[in-house]
Amino acid sequence: MKFLKCHAFLYGFFRDKGSFFLKYIFIAIFCALILASIGTSVFNKKAASGKRVFYWVTDNNPARALQISTFQSWMKSKGYPDCELKLDTANRDVSKQIIQSVSGVGGDVMDCWSGGGDVMYFAEMGIMEDVTEDAKRLGYDPSKTYAALEDDLKVNGRQYIFPCNVNASLYFVNKEVFKRFGLEPPPMRWSMEEFEKRGKEFVAAANKGLDRREYFMAAWIDTVATMRSFGNDIFNETLTASKMTGEGNDGLLKTLKLTKKWTDVDHILPTAAEVASFATASGYGGATFQLFFKGNFAMVSTGRYALIQFRQFGKMDLDAVEYPNAGYPNTIIATRAALVYKGSKNKDLAKYFQAYLASKDYNMNIVEDADALPPNPEFTKSEEYLHPKDYPNEWTVHKKFAQDAMDISIVLTKSPFVANNQVYGSYMNECTQGVMSDVRSAEDAVKLFETRINEEIARTIQEKERLRPEYEKQCELQKKIDEYRKAGKKVPKEWISNPFYKKYYKDMGWLE
């Protein structure tokens, strides 16, 4: 009864006085909001250091805190302006970066990935500051990092980025797993045939007596590196077309067929379903690194950064070996780099930050926490890099990663005439997954991949008239290159734009 009385009272009260009270409630909330705004503004001013503040859009990594504090000390030691660097870890997603940048509100310094296409895409949009001159002045031009990365740092001959860290991939080998099954770990350099032979031996020994296959020799193979080991690349020498079919251009086709065989017939590599079954953990690399530690994968193709997780798992008997090759050993080099936003009001500070990335202070941070390779290769010669005192089990691998980055690494090829993130994203996935899921044959998949890229190039040229002169010039050069190659003549280096062919032609002795 009491409840009913109370309810009746409240109902009557609001019916009679409701509109009167609502006005005052509205005004009260309005005033409270204004007061809160003023309060926030006042308190924020008090909290601010009074220094110039600029933002670094990067991933949410605990190592960033140390990197920032080192930056502050480095700036002080160099006598550069007093400033405060703040992290923005909420906007690292590429879509967010694009939308914010073209709207004029991008972060002052932003992380981006080379390789798949971020850099080329950002450069096309014109959101990156050209730092060529400043890089020379402040000492972070391409000569301060790995030579193989030069094509990733520059677009049309101009420098835009500098590496935060560098990744050149190898197979990490868990030697204990091989020993467990009475097998020898693989050699540093090996052929496809040897990979297959050892792989068959491994899975036969490791999965003996098990209901389901639980052990695989490798988590995956790198499609582009394997294709390149046959002497082919996704784009031609002048980046004007894709040529992945026909005699002498069938590297991808052979790679797909081998991958299919090694997955479905020999079971050296896990199927997508087997990988999905293992997917019980998160973090970069998913569950792969835990499975490597446990021995389900005897080898994982990754960079030195994997050591951050390996160190958390415990001591492993580690080694690193190259990808198997079909005649041309190579690997992919890529970088998480920092760019200066063209619309930034703190470009000067952002460029100091890029310079800091080439400094000893920063590089030694990377060396110590094993977050891939330091941007400056000089620091890979240090004792701290080669023989970290707490991790003697890693001593065999550090040098190999550095050597690999300097000797056999090549960046992913990017064409200015196509959206590269689409090439390395949806087109490539559709090609490889189509074959692995039995949706289409390897021949059809490669043909479709090639057709899609060439159609996309034709569309880009049609839509972006400004690219046409350069495209036509490069097409003419391509004709000449083809003629020279047919005649067995050496080709001038400056004719070739594709970083893979630049190195491949050089190594084959085909350059003038």
Binding site: V102, M125, T271, A273, V275, A279, N421, M436, V439
Partner: protein, 507 residues
């Protein structure tokens, strides 16, 4: 002083001049203004802007604050290109395929609503039958937990939750079940997708964990079954499909004779009704089955169409009843395709199970990825807002209707078919419209979270395609054109629904 006094005087006069109606209007607009401004800024203007964008060559790499190129109007070029693009048709097909789960989802939410409208609380028989075993189950699980669960932890947990559910349901009534069914709706979509991803894990997921042994046994049964049995099942499926077709064509002819549908509406309906047979002839592996399905379907249709040569009871215009015809066709399309699909699956069964029958790879398989998403959608739909709408609809059905039917001796099914279903027609209509709209626009979160549109693009829907075109290639103009084509589809289907569906609702 004089100025202040004058101003006060003028303001006072103005207020006196304004009627109460006007002041109310001003106050109302004052409250609405923030919302209207928000709607204009964040909905109307972007909408109009995107419409304009669809006719331009706006490309993020060419047109932004750092580039000097001017945006050009390209007329219908984006739309023409779109219709020539193989990916658009492919992804449209995938989107429509995923929408085939909508009728099942609607049926699921209706069944859930009907179940949840029954109350167990207070019924002695319910207490006896459910409370005691439920308590025993829950108690046993608690004891096992105390004793140490070991490897059976998950199973014990599930059984324990089941027991607890029964107990709380009996003690606190339908509210408990309603809340539990609606719980997935409170959970963030991404969290649910990740959960399902784990459930679908091919070798370690609980779904395949359950399926593994029964399928292995089924595989043995299949391997021991003579091949003619599979042929028989295939033929049975074909015959059932043909009988459904015959029944519907007959119904269409009757409608035509009664003047409910016109010539052209009949032709349109026949086209859709015969479509599954054509596809069946293409998909079925055996030549005899191909011929039989074609001859059977066209023969039976011709046999029923013979009545058209007789006298017509009522005349009608050529397009009259196009909705009726379309709805009839649609109702037969789904079961026909299901039977054809089942026939093909049965025929392939011996080949698949030769090395033992294994559970599917779900999201990792090109062929199973879409059905996996549909199953997940079905689960989500059962406890969705649709269920709430049906629950509200069920509570609004006058009990007198049921009582009258009881007196007449109607069976539960008859009561459902003649009372509940027609009474729920307006709600069903609303749910169908919203499901179609949601189905055409949906799939983005799932594709991005669970599959990245793969494997081999099999779970890429139009919305994910729009995102890719807009932000991966930067072609915002083209991406807008796709969005507007999607809008046109949604709008047309909704209009068809309103035009023809509302007729059935009102009837």
């Amino acid at each position: 002083m004089c100025e202040v006094g004058c101003a006060k005087f003028v303001l006072g006069k103005i207020f006196i001049m304004l009627s109460k109606k006007t002041t109310n209007l001003i106050a109302g607009l004052g409250f609405l203004t923030p919302n209207i401004i928000g709607f204009l800024c964040f909905t109307t203007i972007p909408l109009v802007f995107s419409m304009i964008l669809a006719f331009t060559n706006w490309d993020l790499t060419l047109h932004n604050m750092f580039q000097n190129e001017t945006i050009k109007f390209v007329g219908f070029k984006n739309f023409i290109r779109l219709f020539q693009e193989r990916d658009f048709w492919r992804f449209l097909g995938y989107t429509l395929f995923l929408m085939m789960g909508a009728p099942f989802a609607i049926a699921g939410s209706l069944i859930a609503a009907i179940m949840l409208s029954k109350d167990l609380k207070g019924k002695k028989s319910g207490i006896a039958k459910i409370l005691i075993p439920g308590s025993i189950l829950f108690g046993s699980c608690c004891l096992l937990t105390v004793a140490g669960m070991g490897a059976a932890a998950v199973i014990i947990l599930i059984v324990g939750i089941f027991g607890l559910t029964l107990v709380t349901g009996v003690l606190f009534g339908q509210t408990v079940y309603r809340t539990m069914f609606y719980l997935p709706n409170f959970t963030s979509g991404v969290a649910v997708y990740i959960l399902w991803k784990k459930l679908y894990s091919p070798q370690t997921g609980p779904i395949n964990g359950v399926l593994y042994k029964p399928l292995a046994s089924l595989g043995n049964v299949v391997n021991g079954t003579p091949p003619w049995v599979f042929d028989m099942i295939m033929w049975l499926c074909i015959v059932i499909g043909l009988l459904i077709l015959k029944r519907v064509v007959k119904s269409m002819c009757n409608h035509w004779k009664d003047g409910d549908i016109g010539y052209l509406a009949l032709v349109l309906g026949l086209f859709f009704v015969l479509l599954p047979s054509v596809f069946g002839a293409l998909w079925l592996p055996e030549m005899s089955a191909k011929i039989a399905i074609l001859i059977g379907s066209f023969g039976l249709a011709a046999y029923e169409l013979r009545t058209l040569f007789g006298t017509r009871d009522f005349e009608s215009t050529a397009w009259r009843g196009v909705g009726t015809s379309f709805m009839l066709a649609l109702l037969t399309l789904i079961p026909q395709f299901i039977f054809i699909g089942f026939a093909i699956a049965v025929l392939n069964l011996p080949g698949i199970s030769a090395d033992g029958l294994e559970p599917p790879d779900w999201l990792a398989s090109f062929n199973w990825a879409k059905p996996s998403i549909m199953i997940m959608g079905l689960w989500g739909a059962i406890g969705s807002n649709n269920m709430l709408l049906y629950l509200a609809g069920l509570s609004n059905i006058p009990p007198e209707l049921d009582e009258a039917a009881d007196i007449d001796g109607a069976s539960p099914f008859q009561k459902f078919w003649h009372i509940t279903w027609p009474q729920l027609a307006p709600i069903t209509f609303f749910i169908v419209v919203m499901s179609v709209i949601g189905g055409l626009q949906g799939g983005f979160e799932m594709a991005r979270t669970m599959t990245q549109g793969g494997p081999a693009g099999s779970t890429t829907t139009l919305s994910y395609f729009i995102y890719n075109e807009g932000f991966v290639t930067g072609r915002l103009g083209y991406s807008s054109a796709i969005s507007w084509i999607l809008f046109a589809m949604v709008f047309s289907i909704t209009m068809i629904n309103w035009k023809f569906g509302s007729k059935y609702v009102n009837d």
